[in-house]
Structures are given as C-alpha cells and as structure tokens.
C-alpha cells in the first residue's frame, strides 16, 4: 500500500485492449492505483521486482504459462503480492491447481464489473476469493 492507503495493482494479460479497460475501470476506484500493465510472464516478473505491487491481476494464461505455473513461480521467488487470476472459462482443474500453487483469488472476466473490486480488496486483506460463477463451476465437478 502507498502512503495514501491505496492498493497498488499490476495488470498482467496478453490481451492489450482488456488491460486498457481494466486500468480505466480501476482508476475510478478511490482506494486503488494501477502501477503498470504487462503482456507476459517475463514483464510481469520484471515489473513486480521494480514496482512491488500489492496485488497482481493476471490472466489464467500468461504467456508462456498458465496461472498455476505463474503462481508457483511467484511463490518460489518469495514475491509477497496477492495474486488474482481472471479467466474466460472457469475450468475446475485450473482453479484447483492455481490455488494449490499460491493463487489467492480466481474469477471470471465476465464478472469483472460485479466482482473485481471486491476480489482485489478481499485478497489484499489476506483472504481467499472465489467468484460466484467460478464457485458454481467448481462445485459442479465435486458431485
């Protein structure tokens, strides 16, 4: 967090237009600040080292790895940022593996408008976050 109390966020997604719009969206939220946005894992690691964001919002596929591999790498490097994966499809196996390897939150991109701000605040407080539709998809495979 900055001295102003804002949550510092890095956006990592290979779809530039989505990064742009998420940035616009979060810039309107009083307690949040987007420190940068990057298209792939290498840039995400480099910007994380230099900017030390509180939260990283990352695509479920961050070239060249998926969110589970990315999380494992971030945790191996002892990067303390909270990690929120955003996905077009709630694939239960990826959700499970991502949490196992250190993701703090998982949500669908369809839910950004309703859930993104809540998800970021939640994982920044140290909680785990699974969005309603990701939860629904995950529960559907547990029966």
């Amino acid at each position: 967090m900055t001295e102003t109390g804002r949550i510092r966020i890095l956006i990592a997604d290979d779809f530039k237009v989505l990064r742009d719009v998420i940035r616009l969206y979060l810039e309107r939220v009083e307690d949040m600040e987007v420190v940068d946005e990057v298209p792939d894992l290498d840039d995400a690691l480099e910007r994380t080292r230099s900017l030390q964001p509180d939260v990283i919002v990352l695509n479920d596929y961050l070239p060249p790895v998926d969110s589970a591999h990315a999380a494992a790498l971030f945790r191996k490097l002892e990067i303390p940022a909270a990690l929120l994966a955003i996905s077009m499809s709630a694939e239960p196996d990826l959700i499970r593996r991502s949490f196992r390897h250190g993701i703090n939150g998982f949500m669908l991109k369809e839910e950004i408008d309703e859930c993104l701000v809540e998800a970021i605040r939640s994982i920044h407080r140290g909680e785990r976050y699974l969005s309603p539709r990701a939860q629904e998809a995950y529960d559907g495979t547990q029966h």
Binding site: V17, D20, V21, I22, L24
Partner: protein, 170 residues
C-alpha cells in the same frame, strides 16, 4: 402550511438532490428537487446494442460501456444476423458492431439496418482501420469506425458523437 413546506424544501441538506435556482419577480429562489423528479427530468440514456463474435472483446465492450452513466446496453449478439434481429426488436440508438463476424459480416449488416429504415446508427469496430476501411464503412452507411486497439480511449466518445448525429472515423 405552504410556507412551512417551502421552508422544508429550502433547508434540505441532501446533496444528492439537485438544486434549481432562478428568479421570480426579481426575487431569487433556490429549490432542491426531490430525487424522483430529478430522475424524471434526467437525460434519457443512450441505448446501445453490441454485436461482436469474440467473447473476450464482448467483455471489454460491456465493461467499458458500464463505466458511462449515459449509456445502457440493451442487447448483445454474436453475428450480423442476430444484430439485425436485435435492431428490429429493440430499436437501439446506436449499434456497436464488429466488421468481421460469422453468418453476416458487419458491413452487410449495416446495409441491412439502413435499408430497414431503422433509426439505429451504426458504429463499426475493427482490428483493421485506415482510409480504405473507413471508406467501406461510410459507403455501407455506418456513422463511424473505431479501431479495436483504441476502444478504451475512443468508444464512448464515438457513441456520444454519433448519437448527436455526427460521424466519427478514428
């Protein structure tokens, strides 16, 4: 009784209630309008339909449009034919439509919207813009063309301009 009710209106401290000021017989007045009246007087929203076959791009467009209090998304479609059905059914003010789509492409769908006589104005979006594509879009009857790469900075501006009757080719 009247004097009391006027005093209570004037003393309203609710900042959400807009204030109307003016003069009557050279005497200034200042009135806080109740919310239900201000909502009725508010400018109607621009009713927008989206036609885009790429699901992630639809997420982008929906999120972007949700940021504007002046815009309301009334319909989403995956191709040009569905977009035409949407225009016939809901008569949106503006149709934001991708050019390259399956079943019926955006240029053909624009021509069909125009020939149907609908008042809906079409704003095309595409990865490929430039003079040639802008000329194609204009010839089809579109009011504008915006590059997909530039939607974050231009889409809302383009929708508002087109709704005012202007063209917008970025």
């Amino acid at each position: 009784m009247t004097a009391l009710s006027i005093r209570s209106v004037l003393s309203s401290q609710d900042e959400r209630e807009p204030v109307v000021t003016g003069t009557i017989y050279k005497l200034p007045y200042r009135l806080h309008l109740p919310l239900y009246i201000s909502e009725a007087l508010a400018k109607p929203k621009i009713r927008v339909a989206i036609a885009e076959d790429h699901a992630e791009m639809r997420v982008v467009l929906r999120l972007l449009l949700s940021m504007s209090p002046e815009v309301e998304v009334v319909c989403e479609s995956n191709n040009g034919q569905e977009a035409i059905d949407c225009v016939e059914r809901l008569q949106p003010d503006v149709l934001v439509m991708d050019i390259y789509m399956p079943v019926l492409d955006g240029l053909s769908a624009t021509k069909r919207v125009i020939s149907s006589g609908a008042a809906t104005r079409v704003l095309l979006i595409s990865l490929h813009t430039g003079n040639f594509m802008a000329a194609q879009a204009a010839a089809a009857g579109a009011y504008g063309l915006v590059s997909k790469d530039a939607v974050a900075g231009s889409l809302l501006q383009a929708i508002e301009a087109i709704h005012r009757g202007q063209t917008f080719f970025s």
